[in-house]
Amino acid sequence: MSLALTLFSALAIAAGVFFFLAGTVALLRFPDSLSRLHALTKADNLGLGLVVLGLLPRAGSPLAGLKLIVLWALVQLSSATVAQLIGAALRRQDVPE
């Protein structure tokens, strides 16, 4: 693996971890549920995406790399829908009370 690739991989992973941290801090600090939800989705998608991007050069085979990408796409799909669902659940809970 060339030096540039190693550097790129380390940078991407570091950035991914940073987004996870930011998301976690936001989840702890943001005032209301909807903005926490907003922060969460950023952490989910960007954080994992960057970590996957960083791990791609390290993947042993093209197939393993493909699996990583499928994994990320899967998380994209489900986290987006789950965020929608949680939002709807929040609204339902807010209306009656």
Binding site: G16, L21, T24, D44, V51, R58, S78, L85, I86, A89
Partner: protein, 80 residues
């Protein structure tokens, strides 16, 4: 690198509110931590585990939301 993975899992969100979001974050954070730890210690076949985890963490979140929706409905029915 693994420090970051550790931190991501250490800072498991707030426990008082919005636990579903915390589980969702823990799910993705767990996947990332798993991938990082695997590439550092070379346990074979961890992509499969991560794939399964990705499917199942979303599955659990969906179950929670569905259950809480059902709970709200029964509560409203009780109030009436």
């Amino acid at each position: 690198m693994t420090v970051g993975a550790g931190l991501a899992r250490v800072l498991y969100g707030p426990r008082e509110v919005d636990r579903m979001m915390a589980v969702q974050l823990l799910g993705t954070g767990g996947i990332a931590a798993l991938l990082l730890a695997a590439s550092a210690t070379e346990v074979a076949g961890v992509e499969n585990v991560a794939l399964g985890l990705a499917l199942l963490s979303s599955f659990a979140s969906v179950a929670f939301v569905t259950a809480s929706a059902g709970a709200v409905k029964t509560r409203q029915a009780d109030d009436r």
